[in-house]
Amino acid sequence: MQRKRTKTVDDPIFEVRDTTVSFDMERGESKVLNEVNIDVDRGEVLGVVGESGSGKSMFASALLDAVVDPGVLTGDITFHPESGEAIDLLNLSQEQVKQVRWEEISMVFQGAMSSFNPTMSIGDHFRETLAVHDYDVEEGMERAEELLADLYLESEQVLDSYPHELSGGMSQRALIALSLVLEPEVLVMDEPTAALDLLMQRSIIRLIRQIADERDLTIVFITHDLPLVANLADRIAVLYAFEFVEVGPAYEVLTEAKHPYTRALLNSTPNLETPREQMRPIEGAAPDPVSVPNGCSYHPRCPLADATCERDDPPLESDTPEDGHVAACHYVEKVPETVPLTLQEVKVNE
């Protein structure tokens, strides 16, 4: 039941072009998503990884044109539904908003608990969602029960509960079910499991995988925890300082990452495989959105950095575009040498 492991994007469901999110802050303009470009393939699971504050949530919000006030979203995001015309997500009519949101694209947030209205029962959330989208409520509720059951929840009991009566894992699954009740094409998940313990995280990831396969969902899965998506995602996109620095098929990104940041990230991630002695933290701190370094934004932390890096912002590209693995680094070729991937080395040595 291995899914196709896409290399390149053939049938994009999202085309994100030069998308920027900026906030006007006391300290200056803060670009918390900086002219990012990415395509999302229909039916894939795209993992978006990055450290805290790198703009992951902004990216997710941008995909739904739901950037919080007073953020300003510019650029182009085109959504290609399975059937019908392409939709310009950033210029939706009132009618389209209603249609796109939750019916086509839905979203699961980090804090499931806080995504439910505490004074409404879970069941009411389902019914409300169905009703406001003019779906048949009864039919929809049957689907909801199925979904909940698929997520190993006792549907009746859960539907009758209030959010605070559910444990973290349960409410997270209930939220996933809620996001799927209108049978959307795309599910954007912003750290859906961050607040849970590992056993639950893993169980949920597995369920997501299952559901994605069963329903041909496209999933954009956002996390700061690389290992978590390692086995879930078809492709992985790495965000650093509000830009994508590397995008590629999951396997390749994990085994032969091209960007020094991705490599450092892999080396600094606690896991059971890498020998403890060889795990290394990333030096330095992530940049502040108001004062992102010129040139390559990673240069202050990069062992390879030189004057070029300080001056020029490397484009997100590759010599071998056909494999769909791109990175934004001036010295891609020098990277493997300077920043060895400890886990891979260990394996090679073995």
């Binding site: 739904l64 739901a66 908003v97 209603k98 939750w102 947030f109 029962s121 989208h133």
Partner: protein
């Protein structure tokens, strides 16, 4: 058992309040006769009461035997109260405190209920709209207005309203609960007239009270608007109106439920002066007369009734809050640090 515990607590409070007020009232200088004396002294013969009566009044008009020890009186009194008997009024000869209270209480309750409901209704709606337009000129203006009305004492407002609406414009009656000569009953005319007479007293409470509610509501709503689930609801395509009412409005309102109940107590206290200004025949009016006349049983009776009303309101608030707001689970108690 939470309910039992809570009821027990309420009972203890009740008895404590009775005890405190009993003590205080007995400690008050003067007795019922002194009030008559005061009346005689003040009018010095211009009424039909002769001045020489003054000195013969001392021991008349006490319904308790001053020679019985206070604790016995107290015990008797508490026993009576627990049997629902508040005693015999001293200053209203021939009337029991129960009957006086039954006569007065409906008017106070009527006035206060309307005033509280209106205050909260106006305040809540205004506060919610302010929150939605946070930062707009409407918001700033309304905030200033709310703060301003909040700093006007209700009796000052009452006086001004009387000046404008009954003295200058003669639109509303200045006092009383219904027009003289009207046959009380559930006739439309009577009911309309009762509301007509309640207009100014209610207005003075509402006009000075809604500001505080609005400011609280605004704060709660703004906080609510910032919650994640509001964002999610928008994303789910829930229409704005529904979010405003079912999400923001309702959730911002819930914490004010307890306020509402507690404000009952405050308003009961405040009714003393309001009913005085408007000569409204409610509990406050009788309480004031009772205090002036040193009518112990009447004072105690009204105190007890108000206290009981407040207690019941708080009790209801405590017991029902959990039902109204699913977030709250009743009960508390943690180990002492």
């Amino acid at each position: 058992m939470y309910i039992l515990k809570r009821l027990g607590q309420a009972f203890v409070t009740f008895v404590a309040v009775i005890t405190v007020t009993f003590g205080l009232i007995r400690a008050m200088p003067g007795g019922p006769a002194d009030y008559i004396r005061a009346r005689v002294m003040r009018n010095r013969g211009s009424e039909g009461v002769s001045m020489s009566e003054i000195n013969s009044l001392t021991e008349a008009y006490t319904n308790f035997d001053p020679s019985t020890p206070v604790y016995v009186q107290y015990f008797d009194y508490v026993t009576n109260i627990l049997q629902g008997n508040l005693g015999q009024s001293v200053s209203f000869a021939g009337q029991s405190v129960n009957s006086l209270i039954i006569k007065a209480a409906p008017w106070t309750i009527f006035l206060l209920t309307i005033a509280i409901l209106l205050t909260f209704a106006v305040g809540i709606v205004l506060g919610a709209v302010m929150a939605y337009r946070e930062g707009s000129r409407f918001d700033t203006g309304s905030t200033v207005l709310s703060m301003f009305v909040n700093s006007v004492p209700y009796y000052v407002a009452a006086l001004l309203l009387v000046y404008v609406f009954s003295i200058q414009l003669s639109i509303f009656p200045q006092s009383g609960n219904y027009a003289v000569g009207l046959e009380p009953g559930l006739t439309p005319i009577f009911i309309a007239d009762v509301f007509y007479h309640a207009a100014l007293p209610v207005a003075s409470l509402v006009l000075t009270g809604f500001g505080g509610v609005a400011i609280t509501m605004r704060g709660n709503s703004i906080q609510e608007i910032g919650e994640d689930y509001i964002r999610v609801a928008h994303l789910r395509g829930v229409p704005g109106r529904r979010i405003a009412v079912r999400y923001v409005g309702r959730n911002a309102l819930l914490p004010m439920y307890t306020n509402l109940m507690i404000s009952v107590g405050f308003m009961f206290g405040g009714s003393v002066i309001l009913e005085q200004i408007f000569a409204y025949p409610g509990l406050g009016n009788y309480l004031l007369q009772g205090i002036h006349a040193r009518d112990y049983p009447l004072m105690m009776g009204i105190f007890i009734v108000i206290t009981a009303a407040v207690l019941i309101c708080i009790l209801i608030a405590d017991l029902t809050y959990g039902l109204i707001d699913p977030r709250v689970s009743a009960g508390e108690g943690k180990e002492a640090y």
